[in-house]
Amino acid sequence: MTVKELIEKLDLKILVEDDLDREVTDCYIGDLLSWVMGRAPADSAWLTVMGNINSIAVATLADASCIILVENAALDDNARQKAEMHGVNILTTEENSYQLAVKISKLI
């Protein structure tokens, strides 16, 4: 499943668009960035409420396919800029992590 297909199936809103043809092969949920950075699998959709500049660094480090900001969590302006600069897809939804992950598990 690609990021693009995930967006269509889950009705996600795009905040930062980079390579939407990237494959999503896994899903990870976490908000403690130092924890996530060593544990999120590559090519995963990372579900979090943390929309700050450090999240972009963590997504880069973990090589996540996309960040999905759940429960309409805010994306900081400088985080948006860094995401555009470093090519990180950022999506958002009003659903919480659990609700979204349940749907994702049926797709990937």
């Binding site: 403690l32 960035l33 130092s34 924890w35 950075m37 700050n52 500049i53 450090n54 972009i56 660094a57 963590v58 880069t60 480090l61 860094k82 470093h86």
Partner: protein
Amino acid sequence: MRELSLNVMDVAQNSVRAEATLVRISVTESDKEDRLTIVIADNGYGMTDEQVQQVIDPFFTTRTTRKVGLGVPLFKLSAEQTGGSFDIQSEKGVGTTTTASYVKSHVDMTPLGDINDTIKILIQCNPDIDFIYTCTTDAGSFTLDTRELREVLGDVALDTPDVLEWIADYLEENTKSIYGGA
């Protein structure tokens, strides 16, 4: 980080890399003021204003193995997410002072963790560097100064097992005395 003492370890290791010979670490905890303040001050080679901006930027690192460095940015985030503050003052050839201040009662407050163990490990791993650790609460304060230990120890190195055990006991006993036996 799950514990702030790990951030202290991380920043102190930056001091070591900056060839500091003296590192001052202080932890000041006040229930009355609802504040926890951590200061790490070294006499290493310091940074320019531009370099200070770079270390708080997660996309800057001196490592060549990866393109992001999150040590300082996550320390900063941990303080700011409690409504506290974070600051780095540095001068080339003089040293660097990093200050993180927390609102203790905030729900996103990260626990301090085992700071005594962190201090002991820093001394153990860097026996040629001097550390001055000061811990202060509303009930009092104590200081461990490795320069004073050296005077007493003479030629005995700080990283010998007996000395390290004494350091661990000293930190534990004094911590108890200013945390009301907790």
